[in-house]
């Protein structure tokens, strides 16, 4: 069990590999890549690009879940982010730096608000973030006066449409934020403290760990990530659509975290796992789109894969799987059941 950390990632990677393998065998031209005027095109590139919002919200969600919480508001926060940016472009004609920084400040403060509700007012995370999940889209609509605000701003559009190093710029953003999260938690004490708070809040407080601060950091970071994801979506469609931006993305983000091996109960977290989880989800979605599967059927397929991955990650389930051959042996050789139990180790 010493290598629990890397082992969890291995299971996520195996699941991703399985989905890719399926495509290699059954989806023609899935792995085709072509260069066109310095840009790379293909289903794989498309997956990386489309996965960005779930990768980003998943990173924030990972830290929040590790503290033993949950952030249901990320979708609504994305809508607010896009709404603020669109107004800054169309009404204030603000420079692009302002159009980026102000929405991110706003969403980080929103994240802090969630953190205050959870850490200082002891409101259950589910309820605390549900408040903004429900009201956030209303706030976004107030900002845009209930309109879908359409804009043109070449510099801002680069976020969602631009290419950098032959790949969509969103890939760079995702990678950058992953590094920020990884280095920010693993080269400081932040990661350990978050895990300690999520694993045993009482012992953490006895040890002098600033548990409230850790929760504030996690929720604020989640707000920031959702803000960036909101900018990407708005920039991509060149509009702020308060009703649909980031709709239901909180569920995909939570799913990505869980597929990545982080327990919903809090404690140990795996940022790379969450990224892989997001890629699994996006690969599935893309596969379903390419293969022209009936959309109603698509959700069922997605659910089946999710069940499969979750089962693979369950050590209880793997223990039972491992028992099957030994049970069979026991029946046939009449050996003591202990033999079966031993073989689990």
């Amino acid at each position: 069990m010493t290598f629990g950390r890397s082992r969890n990632i291995l299971w996520s990677l195996a699941a991703l590999a399985a989905v890719l393998l399926f495509n290699l065998l059954f989806t023609p031209r899935f792995f085709d890549l072509r260069m066109d005027s310095g840009h790379l095109y293909g289903s794989l590139v498309d997956i990386l690009n489309r996965a960005a919002p779930v990768v980003l919200t998943g990173l924030g969600m990972t830290l929040v879940i590790a503290t033993g919480g949950i952030d249901l508001s990320v979708g609504s926060v994305m809508a607010i982010s896009g709404a603020v940016a669109s107004i800054l472009i169309t009404v204030n004609h603000a420079p692009v730096a302002v159009v980026i920084i102000v929405p991110l400040l706003v969403t980080t403060i929103i994240g802090l608000w969630n953190g205050v509700l959870v850490a200082f007012l002891d409101i259950q995370p589910f309820i605390a973030t549900l408040i903004l999940m429900v009201s956030g889209r209303g706030i976004a609509q107030l900002i845009t006066s209930g309109q879908i605000v359409i804009f043109t701003n070449r510099s801002f559009q680069f976020i969602g449409e631009g290419d950098f190093l032959a790949l969509p710029f969103t890939v760079t953003i995702s990678l950058l934020m992953f590094l920020v999260a990884f280095l920010g938690t693993r080269t400081t004490s932040v990661g350990t403290f978050i895990e300690a708070v999520g694993s045993n809040p009482v012992a953490s407080s006895y040890t002098g760990i600033p548990s409230r601060m850790m929760k504030l950091i996690a929720y604020a970071f989640s707000g920031l990530c959702a803000g960036i994801a909101g900018l990407i979506v708005a920039s991509d469609i060149r509009a702020a659509d308060s009703n649909n931006a980031g709709l239901d993305i909180e569920l995909d983000a939570i799913l990505a975290v869980v597929l990545g091996g982080t327990s919903l109960a809090g404690g140990k977290f795996f940022l790379a796992g969450s990224v892989i989880g997001a890629l699994i989800i996006q690969t599935l979605t893309t596969t379903i789109l390419i293969r022209d599967i009936n959309p109603a059927m698509a959700l069922v397929v997605k659910a089946a894969v999710v069940i499969g991955v979750s089962l693979l990650q369950s050590s209880a389930f793997r223990a039972r799987l491992a028992l099957i051959p030994s049970l069979w042996r026991v029946r046939h050789e009449r050996t003591a059941p202990e033999v079966g139990a031993k073989s689990l180790e």
Binding site: T2, S189, S199, N200, A203, P210, G267, K268
Partner: protein
């Protein structure tokens, strides 16, 4: 003697890996208050749960009024006339007193609840306990004592022969206890058999006719209360004969006569109403002060007050002659204190993290979020303490939950040693760990004090207390009742102090 009201013979109960009860006899007469005594884990509550049908017994017989019974659920036991009132009142605070008393047995007329008859019956049930209250008010508007009476009235209304009171007084104040005792005496005079469980020795002697002592799941004996001196009772609960103990020499230099040293920690009148009565205490550098007393005497509470886990309602704390306010464990750590709590799993270990991460955790917390410690340095610190404390782990990266209890305890101690505190508070550091590890932990405590660390040592094991400490502070019933210097502290002396009448 007539057939006893309740006769439990040769009761045995086994849980996976533990024998909770073996061959226990318990006899209860009509019109008797019978106290069941023993330390935690002695088997008191298991015996009660066997009697009330919560657990199925593995062996033995239960006879009520001479008839064999086999209670298989609390409801079933209640039908036989065995009623239980638990420590926490388990009634419904948002319903009226009358509804609580008659819940599930509401008098009905033509299928509808007859409220008038319900109120009348509730009043009658309470009258029997000499209590006159408005039965239409919500239960939550009354004090815990009254709620407890309502709980008793409820079980009496079902008409019972045996009443089990499991720690009924732990949340009551003195007047309320007196009131409860009045009720108990009243019921005794009516011929009911009452089983009384409590940690409070004064109360045992105030109310009981007989006392049965259990230890480690076995029967030690049943005695007439009048003929069992308090010291004897304590000795039987702890399993020590009075003559058995000789004080062993302290392996490190005794600190007698060193009282000129200024105390590192000095607390005056520190307490919290309802938790601990005001306590005075001093701990000097290099001194080991032990807190002795029975379980539930308030030792852990005192440690938590000092460490800022619970806030005091009065009293002062001085560190190196400077008055300080310890408002949180974090503050306490900054002031140079460390606490290894009694509940290792719940309050100390971060089970998801590795041995290394657990060891460096307090150091990291002290350095703050960004005062990071490099991985190399962390490994060096972990290795150092794994070697120094002889922690048995396949690797520093092993998740701490896979270690044995003793090694987990050492990890927690190592965590604190890494921040080199001035005062180390150890709450039951040897509980649940094997003999070898126990000896190692005790030796470590002596070594640390030898290096000048102040130690506040809490243990239920009297030998440890006597062997290790320079001074022993004795607590009982959430009160400090005495202080013994290293020269006079013997197990006999400590037990006498615990047993003396207040």
């Amino acid at each position: 003697m007539a057939t006893p009201l309740l006769e439990m013979r040769n009761i045995g109960k086994r849980f996976p890996g533990v024998v909770a009860l073996s061959g226990v006899d318990f006899l209860l007469q009509r019109g008797e208050v019978h106290s069941l005594m023993g330390e935690n884990g002695a088997g008191k509550s298991t015996l009660i749960k066997v009697l009330t049908g919560v657990y199925e017994r593995d062996g033995g017989s239960i006879r009520l009024d001479g008839r064999a019974i086999n209670p298989h659920s609390p409801l079933h036991a209640q039908r036989h006339g065995i009623a239980t009132v638990y420590q926490e009142v388990n009634l419904l605070p948002n319903l009226s007193v009358a509804e609580n008393i008659l819940l599930g047995r509401e008098p009905r007329t033509l299928g509808k609840v007859n409220w008038r008859s319900m109120r009348r019956r509730a009043r009658r049930a309470l009258e029997r306990l000499n209590i006159d209250i408005d039965v239409t008010r919500d239960l939550s508007t009354f004090s815990i004592a009254i709620q407890q009476m309502v709980a008793i009235a409820r079980v009496l209304d079902i008409s019972s022969k045996v009443l089990v009171l499991d720690e009924p007084t732990s949340s009551l104040d003195q007047d309320e206890v007196a009131k409860l005792f009045e009720v108990i005496r009243q019921l005794r005079s009516e011929g009911m058999g009452i089983v009384f469980i409590t940690h409070f020795i004064d109360q045992v002697y105030a109310i009981s006719d007989r006392i049965t002592v259990l230890r480690n799941g076995s029967l030690i004996g049943s005695y007439e209360a009048a003929q069992l001196p308090r010291v004897e009772l304590v000795a039987r609960m702890l399993g020590k004969e009075l003559t058995e103990f000789q004080r062993q020499d302290r392996p490190h230099g005794s600190s007698d006569g060193d009282d000129a040293r200024p105390p590192f920690l000095k607390i005056s009148g520190l307490g919290r109403s309802g938790t601990l009565e005001p306590v005075d205490l001093e701990v000097r550098s290099g001194e080991i002060v032990a807190l002795a007393g029975l379980l539930g005497a308030g030792r852990t509470e005192l440690a938590q007050l000092i460490f800022g886990v619970i806030r005091p309602s009065h009293g002062t704390v001085e560190i190196n002659d400077k008055r300080v306010a310890v408002t949180s464990p974090k503050k306490a750590i900054m002031l140079g204190m460390a606490l290894c709590p009694e509940d290792r799993k719940g309050q100390a270990l971060i089970e998801d993290l590795s041995v290394r991460e657990n060891i460096v955790l307090a150091l990291k917390a002290q350095r703050g979020l960004f005062g990071s410690i490099g991985r190399r340095q962390q490994e060096a610190i972990a290795e150092q303490y794994i070697r120094a404390l002889n922690i048995k782990t396949p690797s520093p990266e092993q998740a701490v939950r896979f270690l044995s209890g003793g090694n987990q305890q050492k990890v927690v101690i190592a965590r604190w040693l890494a921040v080199s505190p001035h005062l180390l508070i150890l709450d039951e550091p040897t509980r649940g760990i094997d003999v070898g590890a126990k000896a190692e932990v005790l030796k470590l405590i002596l070594d640390l004090a030898g290096e000048g660390m102040s130690i506040l040592f809490i243990s239920a094991e009297m030998e440890e207390v006597v062997n290790v400490s320079d001074r022993v502070v004795v607590l009982r019933d959430h009160k400090k009742i005495g202080e013994l210097r290293s020269g006079d502290a013997s197990i006999t002396k400590i037990m006498e102090t615990i047993a003396q009448e207040s």
